[in-house]
């Protein structure tokens, strides 16, 4: 049907209508990532109007440090959502990471260089258990991960007898409070994490496999994608990210609590959705999720500076998720595309 691909024939006088129909050049993902980033900047600078203390460099630093946790979580959650799942075990896994880091390691432990990876590995096992339930026992992801969450949280309650003890490992403190090249360490780590995460999701073979599986498992299987391994991977990575956040939180606040992960579940899903991912899988980018995470963090700091109650924060968060979902519907993208061409 594309006549341009054929060699042009001189004597061909038939009415050549030609194929003038073009396809959209700007992808849905680019549009949502851009709009989230612009929204972040607008909020950051318009916040100055409310309070001159806002929108300064030090506030940007604060946002990045506070946003660190959510960005890391949204990477794992984003991968699970990309393959059509949902990880509700994040809060318990965050707490697991935090409590193991304090009770196994604690401050001044010379063995932390191998114990910290061991903590992450234990968290990874939680993810593996979820994946096994989802793939082989065919339990719906949200039920399986919720069950894992309850199991892990209860085990931790028993393990700590209700009061977590111990102090933060030195490396965790250095991660959150240290400096690298004059910049706060968490910001440097965050930038590296975002680059690696973006390369993994958008530029690596594994990332492509995950997109393929999220689009259509059967078609991916037919296209010789290693489906089983690639369905396990996101749950394990998500759990490791959660464990990492648990360790980082311990370093930030110098101690673990049994409810330290509770406030991160909905924001982690919200970041991914605001960032333009489809909740049904197969669509979305990590950069979008990063934008979503930072947007939520900025809102949080603005609400905190305004001295609003915590309840308002959740109300605003809920409204934003709803608005984002409404705005991200297909029709809007159709309109935007046709405007730009």
């Amino acid at each position: 049907m594309n006549s341009t691909s054929k060699p042009p024939s001189q004597d061909h006088r038939l009415v050549q209508t030609g194929d003038t129909r073009v396809s959209a050049k700007i992808s849905r993902e680019t549009i949502s990532t851009l709009s989230v980033t612009i929204l972040c900047l607008v909020l950051l600078f318009s916040a100055r109007l409310i309070n001159p203390a806002l929108g300064s460099w030090s506030q940007v630093e604060t946002v990045l440090i506070l946003g660190f946790f959510l960005v890391v979580l949204s990477f794992g959650q984003g991968l699970v959502i990309l393959t059509g799942g949902l990880d509700l075990s994040l809060p318990a896994t965050i707490t697991l990471g935090g409590i193991l880091a304090t009770s196994w390691i604690g401050a001044g432990n010379p063995a932390e260089w191998y114990l910290l990876p061991a903590v992450l590995a234990v968290c990874g096992l939680v993810g593996l258990a979820s994946a096994i339930g989802v793939i082989w026992l065919r339990v719906p992801p949200f039920i399986m991960t919720m069950a894992m969450s309850i199991i892990v949280a209860s085990a931790l309650l028993g393990y700590t007898k209700g009061t977590p003890r111990g102090t933060a490992p030195d490396m965790a403190v250095a991660l959150m409070k240290g400096d690298i090249l004059g910049l706060p360490a968490p910001i440097v780590v965050l930038i590296i994490f975002v680059i690696v995460g973006w390369l993994f999701q958008s530029r690596s073979v594994y990332g492509r496999y995950l997109y393929a599986i999220g689009t259509n498992v059967e078609a991916a299987r037919n296209a010789a994608v290693p489906v089983t391994a690639m369905r396990i991977l996101p749950y394990v990575l998500s759990a490791i990210c959660a464990g990492f956040v648990g360790i980082a939180l311990v370093g930030y606040s110098n101690g673990a609590t049994l409810r330290m992960g509770d406030d991160y579940l909905l924001p982690s899903i919200a970041s991914v959705v605001i960032g333009g991912s489809s909740i049904l899988g197969g669509r979305g980018t990590f950069l979008g999720s990063v934008g979503g995470a930072l947007l939520l963090t900025i809102l949080g700091t603005i609400i905190a500076t305004l001295g609003l109650e915590f309840g308002f924060r959740t109300i605003i968060e809920g409204s934003i998720i709803l608005i984002a979902l409404l705005l991200l519907r297909e029709e809007l993208f159709q309109k935007l595309r046709s405007l730009k061409t």
Partner: protein, 536 residues
């Protein structure tokens, strides 16, 4: 009234309806359903540029065009499923602008869709009668009356053998298509639209009889099909679409196949039937061999596939051919028998395992949309996906390299470069199929399993696919393919086996592969002459 006009300096002629669309104001009352200048865009993609068509009562009108020419969009607008951006429609001279399928149906315009629109978990009778089921009392529907009414409808259309209480999802695809058509027939008082009605039907007798009866009732029928022979048999006129515009309406009696082909693609058909080479020599060891394979409804299937050989499979719908391909692709495990790759007995755990076994097996699944393409990903990614890591030589993908690798395979199926970076879901069916064929070629596998490689694609695309398959075999590759179209088997296959009732009933080679021979064997009509027994 028609005439033939010549294009300046050209010997080629285009037949054009003299009752042209520009004079439509004068003639609109002669049409049962007429559409003028329909246009529909999806975002920046113009699916239909200028849709003009006129259907007359009691006549069967064909809609022809390559894949992606805009046929489906035009059909969906006429059916009320899609609302056009601009353009007008008239039903018996009165303005007609259905907002949905029900509104079209109230106007006695009914459509049988290619992607069947039946509710899979309801019964045959319920599907036939929806949305108005017989009531028992004010609130409840009556299952008994529903079944009785369904039974009557089935009997009226010669489908007594189908149980009205059967759940749609339990029926074979061909019967589901018959139900879809039956429902449209029931509701089509004025206009009946049949979109690829023979896509899943092995024989056309039942359908053509139904269409003749509808014609006698003065229903105007729009018939969309790729099969020109069928179109000639049943239709009197045809409208040709190309690149989203109606190119011409012609009387089929006046137009040769080559005229129509030229209007569809804008060039002459290249009818080269390459003489079968002697590439498949008997002494080479088999790439793929199957001994006494069984499982599901298959029994005792044995054959060998040698390097450079194209082996066709002919069968009616549902004779077990799907299971054969699934077992060979590793998607299903055989209950009995053994598969050999390069003379080694193998157990195939899945398509990825099959690809990595011996010289490699690549599989083209039956359903392009649900088992083949990955809609949101680019065509390039879709092509290189099976060999992503090795083709791009690192775990990180360079988009340039990815496109380059995809390009070399896309060239083999004559797929244009400019489509490679589009999301494959936005491409036409023909280009999607080309990309999937390119994918099997890109894997580097020496054996291809192609299930209906040219299903639902236009003539031009078909030729590109045939060429790619032949070239692959000429370079020493082995191909096992099933086709629902006999001419395809006749044109492509070096050898052909016919499956009936789960068994290989006959095998043909070379000149014996004729449509007549195949049809007889496919219907289970076994004679002993002119056959070569299957080598076990």
């Amino acid at each position: 009234m028609r005439d033939v006009f010549e294009l300046e300096g050209e010997t080629r002629r285009v037949l054009r309806d003299q009752t042209n669309f520009s004079h439509s104001e004068l003639t609109k009352d002669t049409f049962a359903l007429q559409a003028i200048g329909l246009r529909k865009t999806y975002g920046a993609t113009v699916a239909l540029e200028r849709g003009d068509i006129g259907l007359k009562s009691g006549q069967v009108h064909a809609l022809l065009g390559e894949n992606g020419a805009g046929k489906s969009t035009l059909v969906r607008i006429l059916a009320g499923a899609v609302y056009p951006d601009s353009g007008e429609m008239f039903l018996d001279g009165a303005p007609y602008a259905p907002r949905n399928l029900m509104e079209a149906r109230q106007n006695q315009v009914a459509t049988a869709f290619q992607e069947l629109s039946l509710v899979p978990n309801l019964t045959v009778a319920q599907n036939l009668l929806l949305p108005k089921l017989p009531k028992a009392g004010p609130w409840f529907v009556s299952a008994k009356d529903t079944n009785r009414a369904g039974e009557k409808i089935l009997a009226r259309h010669g489908l007594d053998r189908i149980d009205p209480q059967a759940e749609i999802s339990k029926l074979p695809l061909a019967d589901r298509q018959r139900i879809e058509i039956t429902r449209a027939l029931e509701n089509a008082g004025r206009v009946l639209i049949l979109d690829e009605p023979t896509a899943s039907l092995a024989e056309t007798d039942w359908l053509f009889e139904r269409i003749s009866l509808a014609r006698e009732r003065q229903v105007a029928v729009l018939y969309i099909s790729h099969r020109l022979a069928e179109v000639r048999e049943i239709c009197s006129e045809a409208t040709v679409l190309r690149n989203g515009s109606a190119i011409a309406s012609v009387g089929l009696a006046d137009a040769t196949d080559s005229d129509i082909f030229e209007m569809m693609v804008g060039r002459k058909a290249a009818h080269q039937r390459t003489p079968r080479s002697t590439r498949a020599s008997g002494d080479k060891r088999a790439r793929l061999a199957v001994k006494q394979l069984g499982g599901h409804n298959l029994h005792n299937v044995s054959f060998e596939l040698r390097p450079g050989e194209i082996l066709g499979v002919a069968a009616l719908e549902g004779q077990g051919q799907q299971w054969l391909f699934k077992m060979l692709a590793g998607l299903d495990q055989p209950a009995e028998g053994q598969i050999y790759v390069d003379d080694q007995p193998v157990k195939l755990a899945g398509p990825r395992a099959a690809l990595k076994t011996g010289s490699g097996i690549a599989y083209l699944p039956e359903e392009r949309k649900t088992e083949g393409i990955l809609g949101g990903l680019s065509a390039a990614t879709n092509i290189v996906l099976p060999v992503l890591g090795s083709a791009t030589r690192s775990p990180l993908i360079s988009p340039t390299l990815e496109t380059a690798v995809a390009q070399s395979s896309a060239d083999k199926v004559e797929m244009s470069t400019r489509y490679l970076n589009f999301a494959i879901g936005d491409l036409s069916g023909g280009n999607q199929q080309k990309a999937l064929i390119a994918r099997t070629l890109a894997t580097g596998a020496k054996t291809l399993l192609l299930f209906d490689p040219s299903r639902g694609v236009d003539v031009g695309t078909k030729q590109s696919i045939y060429t790619a398959i032949r070239n692959f075999a000429d370079e020493g590759g082995s191909v096992l393919f099933y086709s629902s179209e006999l001419p395809e088997i006749v044109q492509l296959a070096d050898r052909c086996m016919v499956i009936y009732g789960g068994q290989v009933v006959r095998s043909f080679a070379g000149e014996d592969i004729t449509e007549q021979n195949l049809v007889a064997a496919m219907l289970g009509h076994v004679t002993s002459e002119n056959t070569i027994e299957v080598k076990a």
